[in-house]
Symmetry: D2
Subunit: 423 residues, 4 copies
């Protein structure tokens, strides 16, 4: 299904009066409001192809009606989100869950719907039916060269799919690791991984980037080959200038200061990508901003600073939502995640950077704290709404989604028991 | 398949000389050795019916050959373990994964193989195909009474199955909770759960026990209705004298002092059951003793003390292994887990309790530490071997398992692609 | 030093126009605004006597000028905070750091300054110079009855001081525990503690409350006798109706769902007191709201619900700030903490409880999330300012504090090297 | 006081018969026993000058009798430990707690007692009385160049002291960081730190090494400038070939896989130093091996592998105990720590590396686990005793320490209320 612009306009019209009053008030208080609206209006976050279906845990998965069962339907779902939010103009494809059998056709479909192809994602953490070797004991790190070769070949194939679709980057997330002390030799695993990555890197087109994700645990529960940003960074430096580290918010040990890692990577120009989600315990993959919105704001503070002060030429990171949606309608969930990301971004843009720097240089800690909190405590709903409105999106996207009865229409189209590929 | 006693005797005979020498030496050093061998020889740990197949994570599951696909085959697998270790004479059944369609027949099969029926486990964390209401938003805590009634009825049914099989207890583990702040009202959820549990408790035969498990997170990642031992204990006290708390080693927040919880519960006579596994990060469900064997020893120190000094009449806890086996042959894994448990138990029995008490009363911390560590550093392999040998088990069960080529025989019997119910 | 009302009025007058405009706008959007302002205006948080000096870590302590070196000066400092914020009308006394040598005189001083005496705090975690027995190996839990008797006597003395001053409650925080496995016997320690507490409880006037604090670690790093709310609750139930659990935000293991604990305690009428601070790693004792303001908001959501729906007759908890102030002027720090607490409280009061309940009953998770976040994202600065203004306090207390140059005046009065008792 | 060799021989003689029998038995079972005894006999761990006094927490410190109050007495204490254990032939000096006013004299004293000077430690986390600028807001990272200069100068001075004493390395541990979000700019802090370190590095003699310690938190509770090994490694690479990372076991977030970090650093030849202690919650600084002896064993497994397989030319790490001793006699505590370290080392040396490699290459996980656990479960007390005995040390050092009544003699010499510099 597609949402018509007129439908959105109709819905907006009822909210416009209030919105404009709020906007006027806000602009009186914040001189750089126009600029902030502009930044938000131009901001887009990629949606992964596996986020449109029911995610689950090892204890089970609860489906819902109208799940997209083809890649085309997934792209349609993203277009629905994008039409409402004007902030989700790209899909991040997962292979082999979403192999584009007809790349040209898919590309055309996506283009018609205004959707681009962001970073490609390979998968060497599951066995596929037709696969010769198993990844039970690792892929790029495996002790057996045949397994490594198979995993390398898969990654090259994913790059090739990406080239056909117009993507410009590959994200490698490895589940490789061990569950039991003694199971693997850390050094051998590291060196095998590095050498496998070198082969993949060699296949990378010159205008592509390679993002190396890290994770301390899960699905392996004793060690993960790329356990932290230090290891990812070490690998990226060894590979070459097209390799970067990718930060996934959920991939950290308890209490990690993630914003500090972000700052360090940007200082060195090494932050390539960013996966958004939220969590309380581990890689919980909850919707963005539901547990620690202040941490997200502090991270955006570093991102804003890093993008505005960039001697090391850090590229604009590839932004993606990587949450799992078990209890909410995934489309509502993604809309709420987008809102949470943009809320944090807008608040970070409100920080008075000059005053902050001055307080920092004087070690006036109370003032520095107040500057951050004043920005954080500002209600930026109107900024987001205005950014969307200017692009033709909905002032209140969740409200619009419900008023337009999208889910029921999708159920009508696709049935109650359709099922998406993915976790 | 079944292992013959003669086969074990043959395998033992080659190891006997060394073993007897070791035993002689050990008995010179430890005066109470006979007593310890006796305790270990009489110790048994239940095997859950879901531990015989390939467990997995949300990222996937790697199967293996010869998985048991019926309840009968699962009981046979446990009998194999028991024949080798003489320490696994019971199965803990999970309903509905392993509904005994013919309870009498199953009971007879089990009896023939020397296997009893330990605590029954209900499941209200997954939806079954024929189920009227979904547990997507909880079961015993659900806002809708119809869902609660269905979950209560299921638990009663599980009790009935258990009565038919000769079990004497029900373990209730609830996944109930929430992923998002605001999703549920904590008080309402608690009170619904208590009232549901009361209905289940009312159905309990007078010689049964009810074990209430707790867990801080997973599969819900914001809150769990029974998040800690304090909540479980509160519920158990409200229910009555047949209700107890069950401790699963993996169900704790980082750094929890579990042995302290064990001691507190036993002080009040409230420790009903115990699920063994090991973990580094969360509920990793690794084989017992692979990450924190010293913690396991400290826990057994409390268990031994609690069983030997028992004014509050704590029952002997129901012991069960609750690990997930993704990378090892599950039977080898369970044998290794049993060895790890008995290793910790035997070491705890070696602690000089009088000397320890005396050091504690004088606050001679260095001595107290030394007493524990001397016991822990003792090699108790021979004690375990002797306990098994006396019961007709294998001196070296893993070696025996491999020499007898059990897995290949199971594959021959059941095929490469058989598949067990479970996680 | 004391701040005059006219000085505050002068400072307010410059901010009044903007403030009134903001207030008008806010009242248009929120129908129950008056009510919320009222609640905030009547809200007070106790300041502990040890929070006015430089706190530190084991690595050292950095002093600052104008520290209060007598109890009178500490009360004066709190009066400064209260004059500005109108939310800190009580002191929580720590014995023996702040023994009132002349209780009548101190009481009169405090009364003149509008300061009351909230919960008394005992200290059996440090040795005092004239003390007969050492608390090196514990106090209420000690293996030696003489030590326990001394600790019990100290607590009784603290109650007596409190009676003289008009306090109505005693907070017992025990550092008792162990650093090394084997050091103490958990059961004996628990039973000694319970029996000591019973003696203290017996000395409690009938209109007093006893608050039992819990903490998982520090200063003992293996075990703490009262490690969690479950243990505190067990002790309180054993003591009787005047005993309650006290929650200190920093006293939890990583990732603990504190708001859930708060809800459980209030469900049973057992939440007696509340210590505010913030932390990222452990008991970091940072100013309130600097790390996890959303968690604080969720906690207040439970407190508001619990106070508005109170069949178990939970008393209004004793509120206290318990933060350590190493880098900021402690008075500024406490003012910022008060603002953070009231911010969370005001936002929690903005939650549409009826809409939330309705969403919860329908398991409309996305709506429930939105209702919480809408409240949280509202800027409540104006509500706090108005609540203060109506009571004669400062619209912007930090600004007032700086404009009035309080710290320099205190330095002039007390010198650069005065030093307060405390941690 | 000094312990005479004859005294040790006398004490050993009573234990010799049993010891030799145990040794004979062990040598029958382990062919490479002689080699292992040799390695242990040649192993030494440095004792820091601050470990001989009573350490404490922010809540207080409990002294004990006979504390060394001069550097000479500290060296004497280490000599006592070394005479008993023959494994502590070096002191690691902390400046300014232990400034050698007469370097030549101190050097001679130490030499006479057989004690060398290991890594020097600087201190820019506390203010000293005569200091011009405060480190309240950092040292090498400070926003004010004057403060940085002062901290750099201090480090150069520490190097100079070290040169005079014959030390060959400097350990830099920085407390620099922040307690409050916004307090410092991460990038500026990092770059200031790097540039300060460069100045210190330039002062380093060509045969010296620089060790950069990392720590995630404490005493700063929001951010630490060198928060993890990745940051330390980045700095070391920037400085040059004499710079290395130093691992302190307590300086990690919950659940960190430290052995994996050790392996990664050794793979790159970047592990310079190692601080031993144990902990359950944070940087608890408990005696080695009391909480997680299996983790220590796994770490030694990596160290042994890294030292035996060393293409990247990792230097032999500088070993030091860094524990704090609040409840035990510090000398007993250090002896127990040494025993725990050597126990882990000896067990790691017992691992059958060839069998392990073979199991790893076949992904025979159960065997790999068994190989590690067989080594870990071996009682190596006799190996340690024999290594000590051959060097003239005590078969049972704690027993000897008590029989020789060392503490009481120290109290006689130094009094009950002597007090050491340090934390």
């Amino acid at each position: 299904m597609q949402i018509k612009n007129t439908a959105i306009n109709d819905l907006n019209s009822g909210l416009l009066l209030d919105h404009e009053e709020n906007l006027k008030l806000l602009s009186k208080k914040h001189q750089n409001l126009e600029q902030i609206i502009d930044v938000i209006a131009n901001y887009n976050i990629a949606i992964p192809s596996w986020a449109l279906g029911a995610g689950g845990t090892r204890f089970g998965k609860f489906g819902f009606g109208g799940e997209p069962s083809t890649l085309e339907q997934k792209i349609e779902d993203i277009a629905v989100i994008n039409t409402l939010t004007k902030s989700a103009n790209a899909i991040s494809l997962h292979i082999p869950w979403d192999i584009p059998k007809d790349p040209e056709g898919i590309k055309a479909t996506a283009e018609k719907l205004g959707i681009q192809f962001d970073a490609m994602n390979s998968n060497t953490f599951q066995d596929q039916e037709d696969q010769e070797y198993s990844y039970k004991f690792g892929s790029l790190c495996h002790t057996d060269k045949s397994v490594r070769d198979q995993a390398v070949a898969h990654n090259k194939e994913v790059i090739d799919y990406g080239v056909a679709l117009g993507s410009k980057s590959l994200t490698v997330w490895l589940a490789d690791g061990s569950n039991f002390p003694g199971q693997l030799n850390f050094r051998r695993a590291f060196e095998n991984t590095l050498s496998s990555l070198k082969e993949i890197y060699a296949h990378l087109p010159s205008d592509w980037k390679l993002f190396i994700e890290y994770k301390p645990y899960e699905p392996n529960f004793y060690s993960m080959v790329i356990q932290d940003w230090g290891t990812s960074h070490m690998l990226a430096k060894d590979l070459g200038e097209q390799a970067y580290t990718l930060v996934d918010l959920g991939h950290h040990l308890p209490n990690t200061n993630i914003e500090h890692i972000v700052a360090t990577l940007m200082t060195r120009g090494m932050l390539g990508g960013f996966h958004f989600n939220d969590s309380k315990y581990g890689d919980d993959d909850l919707s963005v901003g539901v547990i620690k919105p202040y941490q997200l704001f502090l991270i955006f503070n570093e991102l804003v600073f890093g993008m505005q002060n960039n001697p090391a030429n850090n590229p604009i990171p590839a932004w993606m939502i990587d949450a799992s949606h078990n209890l909410k309608d995934p489309l509502e969930d993604l809309i709420q995640s987008i809102e949470a990301i943009e809320t944090a971004y807008a608040k970070a843009l409100l920080i008075d950077q000059k005053a902050l720097e001055s307080a920092q240089l004087k070690n006036d800690v109370a003032s520095a704290q107040r500057i951050l909190q004043d920005a954080f405590n500002t209600d930026v709903k109107t900024i987001l709404a205005e950014a969307r409105r200017r692009n033709g999106g909905a002032i209140d996207p969740i409200l619009a989604y419900r008023k337009l009865d999208v889910r029921n229409q999708l159920i009508k189209e696709r049935g109650m028991n359709s099922s998406a590929t993915g976790l």
